[in-house]
């Protein structure tokens, strides 16, 4: 585990979902710092502007206005600057074809937004755990497809 707080960036337009995420994260009592953006354009601006330091992980919602998660994912991965940014895609529905597409576009992990708060806490915890594990192993590339979906 890194001594500094884990820099987490969350991109989600839904204020309820953002507050759920924040609450879940806080209840995990990990050293984290959360930044929230509410649409795709905001996200890209933030990333492009903040070239000094990339976040440690980006939780990316797919359904956002103006620029949705898909487009952001493509744009981010096209840019070499962001090649090492781990992205965890967050979505309400699970569709195998979409999941495959998201994997092909370079996301690290995929999570389906759960219906229960407790589950939400669990999968955020699991996602962060895996990211940190990858860091320590010196592995910042996309994991294998079998580990792609976090249930």
């Amino acid at each position: 585990m890194k001594p500094e707080a884990l820099q987490i960036l969350l991109a989600d337009d839904d204020t309820d979902d953002c507050s759920f995420f924040k609450d879940a994260l806080e209840s995990l009592s990990l050293a984290t710092h959360l930044t929230i953006v509410h649409d795709g354009e905001q996200l890209m601006h933030l990333l492009v502007a903040g070239t000094s330091k990339l976040p440690d992980v980006l939780f990316l919602d797919l359904n956002m206005p103006r620029k949705n998660g898909f487009e952001c994912l493509e744009e981010i991965k096209r840019d070499k600057k962001f090649a090492l940014l781990p992205i965890i895609v967050f979505s309400t529905s699970f569709d195998q074809d979409r999941v495959d597409l998201i994997y092909e576009n370079g996301a690290h992990y995929f999570m389906r937004k759960p219906a229960e708060f407790l589950q939400l806490k669990n999968i955020i915890h699991e996602g962060l755990r895996r990211i940190v594990q990858d860091f320590s192993a010196g592995n910042r590339t996309q994991p294998a497809k079998e580990s792609f979906v976090i249930m």
Partner: protein, 456 residues
């Protein structure tokens, strides 16, 4: 002496006068004979006299001409030598001897050079003073020209007949041509009609293509609509569930028992709604997504389904047997959904007191052996059967269970949205097949699926 001389002179004069008379008689006879001869020679008809033995006694110039043989060679030879049918000639003059004459007896005279002359013979016997038959006198009438005339007449008759026939044929030909012209007219009319029909057909095809294109767009829109609406429905639902779960977790001590219980019921209801939306989404997706048929090993699909249902299978201690499954021409992802639904049902509706046993079999059968009005007797079908030993159902519901939202049990007894079998039936229909359900209460159920082996 003088008187003797006068007597002798008188006698001599009488003798002389007698001689002179005889001479004059002879001279007269000679003139007659010459006259007769001239007549004979002048005749254009070949004249001939024939002896009783059939030898030529005398001929005229015309005979010489027609035979091409000189007089000296003709005389004394057999009359019948100079004919194409010597025996007929002989019979001819025999008839003269018998009857005294013969009239218009046809023969053909042969010239030395080979030329033939058709003649008609008229002959009669001639007798001496005492009535003895000396021979036959025969005259030949050249009938070549008459024969030609007759032949010509026949030829003309034949020609007239042929012309008549020709005119009849010409008349028939005119009728035939008129008929042909009429047929051609009809053909052109048909061709014109055909052109119009083809134009109409091309137009219809165009319309069909437009409709097909519109349908494609409509389907895509429906797909998008369905996805978006189910997704949009899922969002607030999930929020409800999350918020309720937060309340239950954090506020349970602040709520009465009733309050807690109510929130739990909200959670259950929301959970059911979620399943419903997911099932509806799956149901609509079956219609609107692309259908790609592939030859697939059913074993692979069964294994994937078993993996998905691993926990339930373990919990029910169930066995799923599937051996010797023939490959089938199917839309893989749809068929996976189908088998998942059927097997998950079999597990759900299993009996509690015995080990659940599910048997999946498949084979190829001929349509003609199946005797089902919905199946073509000309096609081969892949028959897939899923049999279980669960709680079964009453036979009178064997068709209702495939309807959307039709359940045979209350939701408290057996969970479920009532769409599972409707989805199964839709998938079977997508494969141009049929599905039947047979069962008895408490004696298990069997689902039989028939899908054509070749893609239509």
């Amino acid at each position: 002496m003088y008187t003797q001389n006068a007597k002798e002179l008188n006698l001599a004069n009488k003798e002389l006068a007698f001689q002179n008379e005889e001479k004059e008689k002879r001279a007269d006879e000679l003139i007659i004979a010459k006259y007769a001869r001239s007549l004979i020679e002048a005749s254009l008809d070949p004249l001939v006299t024939i002896s009783a033995e059939g030898k030529i006694l005398d001929v005229n110039e015309a005979s010489i001409k027609v035979t091409g043989v000189p007089r000296e060679q003709l005389i004394g030879t057999d009359f019948s030598n100079y004919f194409t049918e010597p025996k007929k000639a002989q019979r001819g003059y025999q008839q003269v001897f018998e009857h005294g004459f013969v009239a218009d007896y046809p023969l053909t005279i042969k010239h030395k050079d080979g030329n033939l002359t058709d003649v008609l013979y008229n002959a009669s016997v001639y007798k001496d003073d005492k009535g003895n038959v000396l021979g036959v006198f025969a005259a030949a009438r050249d009938v070549t020209e008459q024969k030609w005339a007759i032949d010509l007449k026949i030829a003309n008759k034949e020609l007239a007949f042929q012309n008549d026939e020709k005119e009849k044929r010409a008349a028939e030909l005119i009728i035939a041509n008129e008929e042909l012209a009429f047929q051609n007219d009809e053909k052109e009319k048909r061709a014109a009609e055909l052109i119009i029909a083809n134009k109409e057909l091309a137009f219809q095809n165009n319309e069909k293509e437009k409709r097909a294109a519109e349908l494609l767009i409509a389907n895509k829109e429906l797909e998008a609509f369905t996805y978006i609406s189910s997704h949009d429905l899922q969002e607030p639902l999930r929020k409800i569930q999350t918020l309720v779960s937060i309340i239950i977790e954090e506020e349970s001590k602040n709520l009465s028992d009733n309050g807690n219980y109510n929130f739990q019921r909200i959670q259950l209801a929301a959970g059911r709604m979620q399943l419903l939306i997911e099932d509806l989404l799956a149901f609509s997706r079956i219609n609107t997504t692309e259908r790609k048929f592939e030859e697939t090993d059913l074993h692979t699909i069964i294994e994937e389904v078993k993996a998905e249902l691993r926990d339930t299978i373990h919990e029910k201690q169930a066995t799923i047997e599937a051996t010797d499954l023939c490959p089938a021409n199917i839309i893989a992802f749809q068929f996976r959904q189908l088998l998942y639904n059927l097997i998950s049902n079999a597990l759900k509706f299993s009996k509690n007191d015995i080990i659940s046993r599910i048997i999946v079999t498949s084979s190829i059968v001929k349509g003609s052996k199946l005797n089902n009005p919905k199946l073509s007797s000309e096609n081969d079908y892949c028959h897939i059967s899923i049999e279980d030993n669960g709680i079964g159902f009453e036979p009178r519901f064997s068709e209702r269970i495939f309807e959307v939202f039709q359940k045979l049990h209350g939701k408290e007894v057996y969970a479920g949205t009532g769409i599972g079998l409707a989805i199964v039936k839709k998938i079977v229909e997508n494969h141009n097949g049929i599905i039947t359900a047979t069962g008895e209460l408490n004696k298990g159920a069997q689902f039989d699926i028939y899908i054509p082996v070749a893609t239509n």
